[in-house]
């Protein structure tokens, strides 16, 4: 069965938004702890962390894992 119009639109967006230097999941994972601290402290995402943010926007799995990490870290001070 051919892909639907919605899937074509999604495919076009996937193609149009791709960047050559995107982080992959492993690289994102290596930096996710420091990125979580940036978020929790309400700091501005600097240039070096922009690639992490972009990867999280593109990868639902890493984004979900990041959200789990944030939830785990909230309240860690009281441990």
């Amino acid at each position: 069965m051919p892909i639907t119009d919605e899937q074509i639109k999604a495919l076009v967006n996937m193609i149009a938004s791709v960047q050559p230097d995107e982080l992959d999941c492993d690289a994102c994972s290596q930096h996710i702890a420091e990125f979580a601290e940036t978020q929790l402290l309400g700091k501005t995402v600097d240039e070096s962390q922009q690639a992490i943010q972009t990867h999280l926007e593109n990868c639902h799995c890493c984004q979900a894992e990041f959200n789990d990490l944030l939830a785990a870290l909230k309240g860690i001070e009281e441990e």
């Binding site: 069965m1 051919p2 892909i3 899937q7 074509i8 639109k9 999604a10 495919l11 076009v12 967006n13 996937m14 193609i15 149009a16 938004s17 791709v18 050559p20 995107e22 992959d24 999941c25 492993d26 994972s29 930096h31 996710i32 702890a33 420091e34 979580a36 601290e37 990868c59 639902h60 799995c61 890493c62 979900a64 894992e65 789990d68 990490l69 939830a71 785990a72 870290l73 909230k74 309240g75 860690i76 441990e79």
Partner: protein, 203 residues
């Protein structure tokens, strides 16, 4: 990068022996269990699961102590390892029942190119040309694995789901899809279809 003193203390305590190390291990285990509970409560996870994951994670953290570079606090880094382990375990359970129908052999990544339309003939013709080109590229330039991964993504599967069903891993599937997107983008650009143009045609 300079390490915070609290992190330095953690590393020193965990590298120590005897009571000093035992206390640090127990404290770390407690922090991880607490974090896992906060993160996964209400998601069908019980205390035993959190304790098992925390225990396994502590061992992993001890193995990886040399890899801690101090870019975050030690406890944040440790928690990220525990979360990854928990997510990995939960993923295995959760995705066991995902239908393989969503992930055929990639041959179904088929684009139906419509006949020429009388409405807005210029734009319809351009869209048709892009679809023809995309169809040709997908069939001729993408590998079988890339087509399968891309199809899974378009069918709403996550990279983890695709990875589980193709015996791969998250990173490899992400890279397959990324490389496919890049290849398609480059080839479309060669024909004069840059990103803004194709997006406006299909918006």
């Amino acid at each position: 990068m300079a390490m915070e003193s609290d992190s330095e203390n953690w590393i020193a305590d965990l590298r120590a022996t005897g009571e000093q190390q035992a206390e640090a291990l127990a404290k770390l285990n407690k922090i991880l269990v607490g974090g896992l509970r906060r993160s996964f409560q209400g998601k069908g996870v019980d205390q035993a699961f959190c304790e098992d994951i925390a225990q396994e994670s502590v061992l992993k953290i001890l193995e990886k102590l040399d890899q801690f570079e101090g870019r975050s606090r030690f406890t944040t880094w440790a928690m990220s390892i525990a979360i990854r382990r928990a997510v990995s375990e939960l993923r295995k359970k959760r995705y066991q029942n995902v239908s393989l129908n969503q992930l055929s052999d990639g041959e179904q990544l088929e684009i139906d190119v419509p006949d020429q339309s009388a409405e807005q003939p210029e734009q319809a013709e351009e869209r048709r040309n892009v679809l023809l080109k995309l169809k040709e590229l997908i069939e001729g330039k993408l590998s079988h694995k890339q087509r399968v991964a891309l199809q899974g993504g378009l069918n709403g599967m996550t990279v983890d789901e695709v990875a589980l069903h193709t015996g791969s891993n998250r990173n490899a599937v992400y890279k397959l899809i990324h490389d496919a997107r890049q290849k398609l983008k480059r080839e479309l650009e060669k024909d004069g279809y840059d990103a803004p143009t194709i997006q406006s045609l299909f918006s």
